[in-house]
């Protein structure tokens, strides 16, 4: 079973991500922000990381930078799932090594399709 690390400070949003991806057969671990996510990622290698941008303590872009610095996460798909839809932010995401950008709110089928695609490509 492929594993997903879902990072978001909104509990209800994490519930929706977990619900959507569980039905598609993924095993999901939740983190409330970048700091918690990084700690979890250092202990376990996830197949995909799905992260929000605006979170307390550590935002999504900083998390991606930190993850990409870990040898085990050099090629892991990391998707941003955020309310941010601006081109400038997307360019920053691409620059730090994000694999893709999903704007909230998400549609479960599209989320599953994207996660399937990036895990099959990895």
């Amino acid at each position: 079973m492929k594993t997903v690390l879902a990072v978001d400070d909104s509990r209800s949003l994490r519930q929706m991500v977990v619900f959507s991806l569980k039905t598609a057969g993924y095993q999901i671990t939740e983190a409330e922000d970048g700091v918690d996510a990084l700690a979890l990622a250092e202990k376990q290698v996830f197949d995909v990381v799905l992260t929000d941008q605006n979170m307390p303590r550590m935002d999504g872009l900083t998390l991606i930078q930190n993850l990409r610095a870990l040898p085990t996460y050099e090629k892991t798909p990391i998707l941003m799932l955020t309310t941010e839809a601006g081109d400038e932010m997307k360019a920053k995401g691409r620059a730090v090594g994000a694999t893709g950008w999903l704007v909230k709110p998400f549609d479960p089928d599209r989320l599953i399709a994207v996660v399937n695609k990036v895990t099959n490509q990895a």
Binding site: S10, S12, M16, S20, K90, P105
Partner: protein, 159 residues
């Protein structure tokens, strides 16, 4: 300008500031109450949604294709719509920060009471500059954009 005119201007200004302060504080209290109600509502909505879904899952095999063709899109729509809480929480948090800043500015301005007009004017100039600085700092804090106007799902882009 005589002393009585100066007192009148300062009194008028103080009355206006007190009125603004009252509105700002009440708006903040209302916003906090909205957040509490929304938090409670979303917990109840999510819990009900998952309960209904679990019940449906138990009978999935006995449901016909026609029923499932109606249920599946409805479930997806509910998941998209239930993300409203994340969006509204971000917006209300920004609104609360703005109101807090406004309240700070009003409190600073209120300290002008009983001062002479020239001191009031000097202080107003400084307040204007303070408000402008706060505006810049808020703008930096809110560099993130949240432009969603509806609850349809957002764009997906793979790099």
């Amino acid at each position: 300008m005589n002393h009585s005119d100066e007192l009148s201007i300062c009194t008028e200004l103080n009355g206006f500031l007190q009125s603004v302060d009252t509105h700002v504080l009440e708006a903040m209290a209302d916003l906090k109450q909205i957040n509490l109600i929304l938090d409670e509502a979303v917990v109840a909505l999510n819990s009900s949604f998952f309960s209904i879904h679990d019940s449906l899952e138990m009978y999935r095999n006995s449901l016909g294709d026609e029923a499932l063709n109606h249920i599946n899109p409805a479930v997806n729509q509910a998941i998209t719509a239930l993300q409203f809480h994340d969006l509204t929480t971000q917006l209300s948090s920004r609104l609360l920060k703005r109101l807090n800043c406004m309240s700070d500015i009003v409190k600073s301005a209120q300290s002008m009471q009983n001062n002479k007009t020239d001191i009031c004017i000097d202080k107003l100039i400084r307040l204007n500059s303070q408000a402008s600085e706060l505006n810049k700092s808020l703008h930096k804090k809110f560099n993130q954009s949240l432009n969603q106007q509806h609850m349809e799902s957002g764009d997906v882009e793979l790099f």
